[in-house]
């Protein structure tokens, strides 16, 4: 065993040196004269939330936003949702005619559009199935609540989030463009 313990020390030391080196790179990432100033928030691989904000990718599925004017309460999103977390109620009403002298149009007015984010699986099926471009993903993520019941968000809150919808990123060239512009 004596010979074995002789070979044991350098391997352990090498590992310790590596750990120490990585720790130093994290604690003292600055170079030159500033080397001695500890700056762990620069050297760290993690985002120091809430002191600095995380930057999600434009495609990030943070929260679903609603453009209320585009919704026709067709219920396609509600019935395609795998766990039924979208609640829609609406009624028919008459809108002024498009052209002067025409007949008033019959439109669907949205009374309630709630998404229960405590149930939502963030699969994005509702956004994909919406044929009238009323639902959009936004990378917004700061909407945690203390009570689970408060995660049921109504159409006004979903409408506020619509302001944060990013422009659609161009798909890579060579494949067919699929998505329209965001209807601002």
């Amino acid at each position: 065993m004596a010979g074995k313990s002789g070979s044991r020390v350098p391997g352990t030391l090498k590992g310790l040196a590596l750990t120490f080196k990585t720790a130093m790179q994290t604690m003292f990432p600055k170079r030159g004269i500033k080397t001695l100033i500890p700056a762990p928030s620069i050297g760290a691989m993690t985002v120091q939330y809430p002191h600095e904000a995380d930057l999600p990718t434009p495609r990030a599925r943070g929260v679903i936003s609603l453009k209320e004017d585009n919704c026709t309460s067709c219920m396609l999103c509600a019935r395609e949702c795998p766990d039924w977390c979208i609640y829609i109620e609406g009624h028919k009403t008459l809108a002024p005619p498009r052209r002067a002298g025409g007949k008033p149009r019959s439109v669907n007015k949205l009374d309630r559009f709630d998404i229960d984010y405590s149930l939502c699986m963030y699969c994005g099926i509702c956004v994909e199935v919406c044929p009238f471009e009323a639902l959009f993903w936004t990378p917004e993520y700061e909407y945690s609540e203390a009570r689970i019941a408060d995660l049921l968000h109504d159409k006004s809150r979903l409408g506020e989030w619509f302001q944060t919808v990013p422009d659609f990123q161009p798909y890579e060239s060579g494949s067919e463009a699929k998505v329209e512009k965001v209807p601002r």
Binding site: K4, S7, R8, G11, T12, K14, G15, L18, T19, T22, M45, T46, P56, T57, P58, R59, A60, R61, C74, L76, R79, E80, P82, M121, Y122, C123, G124, I125, E128, V129, P131, W137, Q169, P170, Y171, E172, S173, G174, S175, E176, A177, K178, V179, E180
Partner: protein, 438 residues
């Protein structure tokens, strides 16, 4: 580490029969309930000198090293494990049954939650099975995107193993390093799919979205530092005498025993049996890639660790080949029966709008029949078996979860090992309990 050519494959069925007899004879599985086992094993209260202790001990379900909610009932003779029994079901969510209620369009969002450390593989197996039933061919680009995403996911899954395996065995800084590398890969997955896990990205008929602009840069940021970091892992773990003594010769299992138990993945490969579905039953375009199947020779915890570490290196090589060969074209099939019409056409054509509603309200019909499609997940052969009755929902869906089947090799690995080795063995099997219980 040796490559495939040197290893003889097992063709002798008698040796498998011998393995069955040996597995039965070694009596390592605790079949009784806890109270029965205590009664029959002649449980004695610990004496003052600590001798003659034979007791039943529960490890888990909340033990930090059981990778979720696995409970292992151990029958101990002092410090030595005589028999053991893994108890599962604490995470049972009925996902297979739920899959019968969801249409094929909603299916991927359900199956992706089974193996939460490598979600894209379950999606891929589900999509391949549905496509087999439909008899459709997905476009070239979709297949290469699928391979790219799966290999990136394999890296993140094996990095999770590196982190937790190090943590379980006391290499605490490994926990941080493994997590750090995994994070970069997850950033790439988020850029492409929108989520860090449970992506719902690989769908029957292709993938959900094309690769965004700048994906190559993001991928390089994730992949390029890895070879250097993996060399650091070699210094921190592979070369360490403490690490080797903790793992070498622990939890030994033979190839015959693995085959009789149905164990696949790194555990089977660690015994020297080169079985990798990417090589042996190629799906997508894996037959066009140049990579090695890594095998071990002792079938112990160290081989399983080393195989996973080097599979990360193989995956990096594969990703580089895939990036070079990524073809142009469409990312999902344009088949009126399977995919909705393009967005832009909905505004122009009433027919397209009706079609859109029809495909989403009814789902697409899949011809009656049954099929099985398997992929090589980081944990072994992951298969999806679907029986279709011709409607838009599967009549029956079964997932052959590698974690579940690998788990039954654990009592045999643990027999006559020390209590402290349990942690190493559980960690080296790398079970994901969401997939075990599904």
């Amino acid at each position: 580490m040796t490559t495939t050519e040197d290893i003889p494959q097992i063709t002798d069925l008698d040796s498998l029969d011998g393995a069955i007899a040996r597995l039965v004879a070694d009596n390592s599985v605790l079949h009784l309930s806890q109270s029965e086992a205590e009664e029959r094993s002649g449980y004695q209260a610990p004496t003052a000198d600590g001798m003659g202790e034979r007791m039943i001990m529960n490890m888990g379900p909340q033990h930090p090293s059981t990778h979720g909610v696995l409970r292992i009932v151990l029958e101990l003779e002092g410090e030595v494990i005589i028999r053991s029994k893994p108890i599962i079901g604490y995470l049972h969510t009925g996902m297979e049954k739920t899959g019968e209620e969801l249409s094929y369009l909603q299916g991927p969002t359900n199956v992706t939650r089974m193996d939460y450390a490598s979600p894209l593989f379950t999606e891929l197996a589900f999509a391949l099975a549905v496509e087999q039933l439909l008899g459709i061919e997905v476009p070239e680009r979709a297949r290469w995107i699928r391979m790219l995403m799966c290999e990136a996911n394999r890296i993140s899954s094996h990095m999770l193993f590196m982190a937790t395996n190090g943590m379980d065995l006391g290499a605490v800084s490994m926990m941080l390093y493994g997590w750090r590398e995994r994070e970069e890969v997850l950033r790439f997955l988020e850029l492409v799919t929108g989520l860090r896990m449970n992506h719902n990205y690989i769908r029957p008929g292709g993938v959900a979205a094309d690769l965004p602009d700048g994906w190559k840069g993001s991928l390089q940021r994730a992949i390029d530092p890895l070879p250097e970091r993996l060399d650091e892992f070699d210094i921190l773990m592979t070369g360490q005498p403490i690490w080797r003594e903790r793992l070498q010769g622990v939890g030994v299992i033979t190839a015959e025993e693995c085959l009789t138990l149905g164990v696949t993945g790194p555990i089977l490969r660690s015994t020297g049996y080169a079985w990798d579905l990417r090589k042996d039953m190629p799906y997508l375009h894996y037959d066009e890639l140049d990579f090695d199947v890594l095998v071990g020779s002792y079938g112990d915890c160290f081989d399983r660790y080393a195989i996973r570490l080097n599979e990360i290196r193989e995956s990096i090589g594969m990703i580089r080949q895939i990036v070079d060969r990524m073809p142009g074209g469409d990312y999902k099939i344009q088949d009126k029966k399977v995919t909705p019409p393009p967005r832009a056409r909905i505004d122009e054509s009433m027919e397209a709008l009706i079609h859109h509603f029809k495909i989403f309200t009814e789902g697409f019909k899949v011809p009656a029949g049954e099929t099985y499609a398997a992929v090589e997940s980081p944990r072994g052969e992951l298969g999806v078996y679907i029986v279709s009755d011709g409607s838009a929902r599967p009549h029956r869906m079964h997932v052959r979860a590698p974690s579940f089947i690998n788990l039954q090799s654990m009592p045999h690995m643990m027999r006559n090992s020390l209590l402290a080795d349990t942690v190493a063995i559980v960690s080296s099997v790398d079970p994901i309990m969401g997939e075990v219980d599904r």
